[in-house]
Amino acid sequence: MKIVMAIIKPFKLEEVRDALTGLGIHGLTVTEVKGYGRQKGHTEIYRGAEYAVSFLPKVKIEVAVASEMVDKAIGAIVGAAKTGQIGDGKIFVIPLDHAVRIRTGEADGAAL
């Protein structure tokens, strides 16, 4: 099992969710985050006072999938979240040792 973690543009969240749902992935955790990458930040000006805002708002999604689903999930996220502009985000894949569904006690593959 793996956790696929993706940092995406906030307005792409619904499309990514639809794409993952289309793969039969049910369940997704979303966090509003700030960060920077190649897009860097932007400058705001208020009455002549300039502020460099170096952390931009992004959305982080985390989805736990069976190992054989990882490539499809990555493909779905890339397909839905890509605009071709700088700042589209990144995907990280992390090993997942164990999973439990709290309500039933089901474990691992059955818990996903």
Partner: protein
């Protein structure tokens, strides 16, 4: 949290200060009387026999409500949107608490000191606690409306003036110190200067033109704000940390309420519901739009983007600048005054401030001080006899009016700056002005008021 309770020492100092100032007025009054022509500011109104007019009264009741709305919620939101999220409640609280405090002080002392007969420098004691004001009283300055309405109308001006100062020391002043400062400032600075210009004092007698409060309200508040910014010092992290406004929508709503309320402020200052009020409304609208556009275009040209805060600030700058002129100038004059104010106040808030290095957080001086001075000067230029027989400006051949306006500005700036400084230093010595560094970092909402917004 430990804030010293209002101490006996504080009261004693306030009393001594008050007496000292009153004595000062008496001396200076003699000197000024000798120099001043015998013209009386209230003369135009006094000419007509006092007779209540229901139309005038209805308009002044409305104007009073409009001007109160400028402070709460107008100014509270205008300033509240510009501060960081940790200081929003403290900022709106200042406007609200000042509204309550000044109402009581105005009732007890302020109105009498500003608007009853006394010396050229301070009114008398005949309306302390508003004693003697009945349902059939008529103020000498407004012969067609009940004195109760005139008193309330002027009260709303007395409220907004100190509230404007709050922009200069936002994010760092202790609430207790703020309350002491505003109370003392209202009695020792606002009431006397209102008396000088409108209450039969020496500036009105000299012919200084200030229709709705460019000198009394805006220069007065702006200069006091500048002194506050200088005495309190900069916010922690000023120039290095991000101090961007947390919610400019609040600021837009506030600026809009100020704009609408200003019709009560300027057109209401006609104290009648007639042609003069109508023209005041027209020039107010024109100058405001001109200044908002001027600020927007200047910023667009220099900084690349027309900002929301910029157009709102420009509108307020225009409102400020047209205030003294609103009963004296025609629409063309208003257009010029607005455009000049938009550019001038842009410079005041973005150039002057950074050049001089003080931290006037929300530009109380940059907008109200600079805009007030521009408006007061240009009133002397653009006042037209055809609009108001009481005012003839440079444009109608009376260059002297500009000098009279300069004199009015200087008298206000000097007195205001000195007395404001004294009040601040006294409060600083007794209870302190600023919150502690930790409290400032944590935010005034939680440390001063025990509340936060999510």
């Amino acid at each position: 949290m430990k804030f010293p309770r209002p101490s006996r020492t504080g009261l004693a100092i306030a009393a001594v200060l008050g007496l000292a100032c009153a004595a000062g007025f008496a001396d200076m009054a003699l000197a000024q009387n000798a120099a001043a022509p015998a013209a009386d500011a209230a003369a135009p109104a006094a000419a007509a026999a006092p007779k209540l007019d229901s139309g005038d009264t209805a308009w002044m009741l409305t104007s009073t409500a409009l001007v109160l709305m400028m402070t709460i919620p107008g100014l509270a939101l205008f300033y509240g949107g510009m501060v960081r999220k940790k200081n929003v409640l403290a900022t709106v609280m200042q406007s609200f608490a000042i509204t309550c405090l000044i109402t009581i002080l105005w009732m007890v002392i302020g109105y009498s000191w500003a608007f009853t007969e006394g010396s050229s420098f301070l009114g008398g004691a005949s309306r302390l606690l508003l004693m003697g004001m009945g349902t059939d009283s008529i103020a000498s300055a407004a012969s067609t409306i009940p004195e109760s309405v005139f008193m309330c109308f002027q009260m709303t001006f007395a409220i907004i003036t100190p509230a404007l100062i709050c922009g200069a020391f936002a994010d760092r002043m202790k609430f207790s110190a703020m309350m002491w400062f505003m109370g003392l400032w209202s009695l020792l600075v606002y009431s006397p200067i209102a008396h000088w210009v409108w209450g039969g004092g020496f500036l009105g007698g000299l012919g200084v033109l200030d229709f709705a409060g460019g000198t009394v309200v805006h220069i007065n508040a702006g200069v006091a704000g500048l002194v506050c910014a200088l005495v309190l010092g900069k916010r922690k992290g000023y120039g290095t940390e991000n101090m961007a406004p947390h919610n400019l929508v609040l600021t837009v709503i506030g600026a809009s309420l100020l704009w609408v309320g200003w019709f009560g402020f300027n057109a209401g200052s006609a104290v009648t519901a007639g042609g003069q009020a109508g023209m005041a409304m027209a020039v107010t609208q024109i100058a405001t739009a001109a200044a908002a556009l001027a600020w927007m275009f200047v910023e667009w040209g220099l900084r690349g983007k027309p900002s929301v805060l910029g157009i709102c600030s420009g509108a307020v700058a225009g409102l400020v600048a047209i205030t003294p002129a609103s009963g004296f100038v025609d629409p063309t004059g208003a257009l010029v005054i607005g455009a000049v104010a938009g550019v001038g106040c842009y410079w005041g808030a973005t150039g002057l401030k950074h050049m001089m290095g003080y931290d006037d957080s929300l530009d109380a001086f940059g907008v109200h001080g600079v805009g007030g001075i521009i408006g007061a000067l240009l009133t002397g230029v653009f006042a037209r006899t055809a609009i108001n027989k009481a005012g003839t400006g440079l444009i109608d051949g009376n260059a002297n009016q500009v000098l009279v306006q300069v004199y009015g500005i200087l008298a206000t700036v000097v007195y205001d700056a000195i007395v404001t400084l004294i009040i601040l230093l006294v409060i600083k010595a007794v209870i302190g002005l600023r919150v502690s560094d930790e409290n400032e970092r944590e935010g005034l909402d939680i440390t001063q008021h025990g509340e936060v917004i999510q």
